[in-house]
Structure formats: structure tokens, C-alpha cells
């Protein structure tokens, strides 16, 4: 359970997956790296199986919608023994498909189903890509930027009245 310094851990990470990932750096105490979709599965399994890294704990898998630049998937794994986090960001571009990680982490199934229903990112090879939270007949992907909150579309914003237009506050 001894704590490895993030710099030392990031050296180990770049030693291990230096060729597969780009600009491995340490920000706010965590190791960040960019991986392109084709190699994400072997990067994650390398991080998981390497004895000196042992990142066997899938913290989360989140989608981010960058509108024009397409989608990004952030996969965060944590090593319980070395007490260090590796955050992999996978930018997908517009076609938004990515190989599934359920082969490496069985727990990825729920995370990927959530990203699929919220963003429309499809993970090929996913065992059952049904919806996790939303009812079956729900169409549209709510967490996309172009999906407007229904209640906020119809109801006018009470703060919109003059006098002078002050900044801040919840709009849109």
C-alpha cells in the first residue's frame, strides 16, 4: 500500500505504454495520457496486468460531447497498491465508435451502457447495449449539447426582464 510518487508512476506508465499513448503528463497529482481508439484496449489491459502498475480498479468511464470536434471518452483506472490514478482520454471524432473494454474490465459494461444511451457513442463488441437509466422508448441522447432541457425551453427565464442585464445565473 506504499504510495508511489506520481512522477515516478508516470515514468513507469510511459515506459510501459509509451508507444501506444501520447503526451503522458502529471497534472494535479494524476497521470494523464491521450490514447487513440484503436489501441485503447491494449493500453488498458497493459495498465491492468503490468505488475509494477497494477491498475486493476476501473474508477469510471465518461463521455464528453465536444460538438464540432466530435466525442471524447475518458477512462480512469486506479492502482490500489501504488495509490495512483491514470486518466486516459480517447478522442473519437464524429463517428463515435470505440472498442468495448468489457473484455478487460467486466464492470465497464454499465459504464459503457450509460455512455451509449447518454451520448450515442457505440462500443462495438458490447454484450448487451440496452439502456441503463432511461425508459426503453426514450429517443435522443440527453447529455449531448444539442439536446435542450424540455422544461427550460417552454418556461421563459424569470430573470430575463430588464433593468440592466446582469451576468451570471442559470440560463439556457
Amino acid at each position: 500500500m506504499e504510495r508511489v510518487e506520481p512522477e515516478e508512476f508516470s515514468r513507469r506508465v510511459s515506459a510501459k505504454i509509451g508507444d501506444l499513448a501520447t503526451d503522458v503528463e502529471v497534472k494535479y497529482g494524476h497521470v494523464w495520457a491521450k490514447v487513440d481508439p484503436a489501441r485503447i484496449v491494449d493500453v488498458v489491459s497493459a495498465l491492468k496486468t503490468a505488475p509494477d502498475l497494477a491498475c486493476g480498479y476501473l474508477t469510471f468511464l465518461a463521455g464528453v460531447d465536444w460538438q464540432e470536434e466530435g466525442f471524447e471518452v475518458v477512462v480512469t483506472v486506479y492502482s490500489v497498491t501504488n495509490e495512483n490514478t491514470v486518466i486516459l482520454s480517447v478522442s473519437l471524432g464524429a463517428d463515435a465508435t470505440m472498442p468495448t473494454l468489457t473484455g478487460v474490465f467486466r464492470s465497464a459494461e454499465w459504464h459503457e451502457r450509460e455512455a451509449h444511451e447518454m451520448f450515442g457513442i457505440n462500443f462495438d463488441g458490447h454484450p448487451n447495449p440496452e439502456k441503463l437509466y432511461l425508459p426503453e422508448d426514450f429517443e435522443g441522447h440527453p447529455l449531448r449539447k444539442d439536446f435542450r432541457l424540455a422544461s427550460r425551453v417552454f418556461k421563459p427565464w424569470p430573470g430575463a426582464k430588464d433593468p440592466s442585464e446582469a451576468a451570471g445565473g442559470g440560463r439556457a
Binding site: W157, P158, G170
Partner: protein
């Protein structure tokens, strides 16, 4: 504080707190645990109950408790800050401008006059941002807490009802020893107001 507290001190005190490791806890001799359990319930039976009879005996609320938002109409200058900051969009304000001469012969200055100030308590989540953000101290936390209605429409309290709630707004509470208010070093210049989408 509440009635229940002063009765609580009579709990029997146990000096050293035993720490059983999970292994030890599993090997205690059969039957002892059952008897100790019975001992505890009996001990509590012989002690006075610590609950209070709610409708007859009412516990007084602490000063900061968030009962209802009360409005002091005189202070409100219709600056719309609270309506803007409210996350649930549940404050509806209407006002108009009036020109009034503060001093005879001087040029009439324009004042904002409040026509309607309503809070829809069906939407409100009692976060208190409006009370906090109001620059003119027009909104306060009243301690009135049973204003339930038969119909949800009744939950939108208009201006006059909000002013009624001013009756039990407690005085501001004394801070704990060592409290020194917010740090007030010169603030970095705030980024220019960016228009929302």
C-alpha cells in the same frame, strides 16, 4: 436546545470502549450475546423515554433553520439578482420605473417600484442563494414551517404573504469563537462578463 438533549446525559458511561476484531466477535461463547442484548433493552426500559410529544411539546428551531423565505418590501429595489441566481427559476418579479422628486425642484430621479414578487414554493429547493445574494437585505429566512396547502397553486406565495412571514425572522446569530469573517485581500480583477449562450 431541544428538550431531548438534557435527558440524554443520564446514559450510563462506559469508560474504555471495547474493540472486538471481527475474528474475536465471531467466537464469543454461545448465549452470552443474547443475554447481553436483553440487558441493554431492559436498561433502556427502566430509563425515561427521550422522545417528545410533538404537537403538544414543540422543539424550538435553531436560528438559521430554513423555514420560509420572507420579503421586506421596502428594501427591494427590483434589481432581479435573486430571480437570476435562483437555480430553480421559481422567483417571479414584476416592477416598473417611476420618476419621483426626492428634493423639491431637483430633477426627478427614476425609482424602481415593485409590483409583484412571488416565490413558487412548489419548485423552490430552499437553497438560500436568493437570501444570500440579495444586495439590499430584502430577503430573510423566516421560521414559519407549516404552510401546507390543499392545492399546489396555493404554494406560490405572493408579495403580501411573503411579507407576513417576516413576523418570526430571528436576529442574526452570534458566531463561534475565532470566527473572523471572509478574507478581504484585494480581489483580482474579475473576468469581463461573458454573455451566456
Amino acid at each position: 436546545m431541544s428538550v431531548a438533549e438534557n435527558r440524554v446525559d443520564e446514559l450510563v458511561t462506559r469508560e474504555e470502549i471495547k474493540t472486538l476484531s471481527p475474528g474475536e466477535a465471531k467466537r464469543t461463547t454461545y448465549g452470552i450475546g443474547l443475554i447481553k442484548g436483553l440487558g441493554i433493552t431492559l436498561r433502556h426500559m427502566l430509563k425515561p423515554a427521550i422522545t417528545i410529544q410533538y404537537p403538544d411539546v414543540v422543539d424550538e428551531l435553531p436560528a438559521r433553520s430554513r423555514g420560509v423565505i420572507a420579503l421586506k418590501q421596502e428594501n427591494c429595489t427590483v434589481c432581479m439578482l435573486c430571480a437570476r441566481e435562483c437555480p430553480d427559476w421559481c422567483i417571479y418579479i414584476e416592477g416598473h420605473k417611476e420618476a419621483r422628486e426626492s428634493v423639491a425642484g431637483k430633477r426627478a430621479k427614476k425609482f424602481n417600484v415593485l409590483d409583484r414578487f412571488a416565490i413558487d414554493y412548489a419548485l423552490c429547493m430552499y437553497c438560500g442563494i436568493c437570501v444570500e445574494v440579495c444586495p439590499y437585505d430584502a430577503l430573510f429566512w423566516g421560521q414559519e414551517d407549516n404552510y401546507s396547502e390543499h392545492d399546489v397553486v396555493g404554494l406560490t406565495h405572493e408579495m403580501d404573504k411573503l411579507s407576513q412571514w417576516m413576523y418570526n425572522v430571528p436576529p442574526p446569530v452570534e458566531l463561534e469563537l475565532g470566527a473572523m469573517g471572509p478574507e478581504v485581500k484585494p480581489l483580482p480583477t474579475a473576468a469581463p462578463a461573458k454573455e451566456g449562450s
